[in-house]
Amino acid sequence: MYVAVKGGEAAIDNAHRLLAEVRRGDPAVPELTVAQIREQMALLVDRVMAEGSLNDPDLAALALKQARGDVVEAVFLVRAFRTTLPRFGASVPLDTGAMALRRRVSATFKDLPGGQVLGPTFDYTHRLVDFALAEDGAPETVAEAEPREDAAATPRVTDLLGRDGLIEPSPQDDGTPLPDITREPVDYPCDRATRLQALARGDEGFILALGYSTQRGYGRTHPFVGEIRVGTVEVEFVPEELGFPVPLGTVQVTECQMVNQFKGSRAVPPQFTRGYGLVFGQSERKAMAMALVDRALRAGELGEPLASPAQDQEFVLAHCDSLQATGFVEHLKLPHYVDFQAELELVRRLRAEFEAGREAAE
């Protein structure tokens, strides 16, 4: 049992004032603006939005400033903020097929209809520190080219494979109400929609490690990246008073279609299986790892032996949330004086009994 403590108000208040001063750093160095964080630490902002489960770049940037750049602390601030707001409803499902693409690559087909575009990527860079960035300066002029005629239509790779029945179709929308882990506690085993919601907001490091573990043999799924696309999609919402889908604006998302090894039976010919990843912002690492773990979590459904952590729903879902994890780990540093007194008394009694037993034996 946790017994609360009182007191320490003045010290706590002063500690927070000290934190504010330390957060600011050397006053001789200009203060960061929220816009600078949003524009120049964009991938960090994206991560806070994804794990904070709230798409709002300015809010995520402000949270990062307040949190001194600590991702989990910033996620905490964003999650706390969202609890203060009413929910107007759920969006029309995002149409990632209609994404305005900034990047699209496939590891399975080199000649995709609509083409592959690299967009702004770290891939193929030499990972040499660019000391020129330590000084102010404008980047090189961006190259431009006339978009080719076929660039307007970019079907999903999974649709191309699906035409010939070579890959399983997506699970159909049966109209059942969507489960929501922010409203109802998760009951295990849970459905794929619940798992994807948890993975989409899960800690990138944890999901990455689990995805990696499947590649190393702990729940192997033989994955290929069918397609990764990064770009903006329109969010639409149907307000009661209007009755039609109102465009709210666009958000950037990253989608990964993982194509995995076959499954077949006497009744069904062999076909590729799928894992799916979708996250706010540009984060291929997270979307890919999510797709790997999504596929691994389908082991039961696909009749695969359940032997690895990445296949264990409760293990993955109950531990993938950085905020829940940090809450329980970090609460250990709060005063536990009464609990510990009880433990101290117990260990003293056990030692006394031990000594008494030894003396009796001698």
């Binding site: 809010l59 995002l94 900034r102 083409g115 967009g119 190259a143 660039a151 049966d174 907001r201 709210l248």
Partner: protein, 150 residues
């Protein structure tokens, strides 16, 4: 509701709403000044809330909750009784209210509002075209090489 069920008027209204979501507060203010800066009363004071953004499993399957987006909504009534609504991503109450007034005005004067927003449409089209050209320059044609040991 699918696209075919919606009438042309609703599609045009959605188009103006989309344009307003892409406009800056200054652009919306200029459009309103051009339209005589009409007075409007709040049916509902601009309010910040959330919409749960949903995706589809595999991109085209059963929906799932991706995460929330912050949204500001506003509803206004003009002196002549027309009402207008706006729902915008983000937390800018002023922009949402301006957009709601433009939505109300559009219902009586489509051509006028669309003309007032034409600069926004032009800016957006130019930016999209420039972005498409920059992205197109990164289009890649991979070649498969025969492996040496084969």
């Amino acid at each position: 509701m699918n696209l075919a069920d919606r009438d042309a008027g609703t599609e045009a209204r959605r188009g103006v709403m989309a344009l307003c979501t892409a406009a800056t507060a200054d652009e919306l203010a200029r459009a309103l000044v051009g339209l005589g800066a009409p007075e409007a009363e709040d049916l509902r004071a601009p309010e910040i809330g959330l919409v749960m953004a949903t995706g589809r499993i595999g991109g085209d399957g059963r929906p799932f909750n991706l995460g929330e987006v912050s949204v500001t909504r506003a509803a206004v009534r003009l002196a002549d009784g027309r009402t207008g609504f706006a729902y915008h991503l983000g937390r800018d109450r002023c922009r949402a209210r301006q957009a709601a007034i433009l939505d109300a005005l559009w219902q009586g004067d489509r051509a006028g509002v669309e003309a007032a927003l034409a600069p926004v449409a032009r800016r957006q089209a130019a930016e999209q075209a420039a972005e498409a050209r920059r992205i197109a320059a990164t289009r890649v044609d991979f070649l498969t090489l025969a492996r040496g040991e084969d």
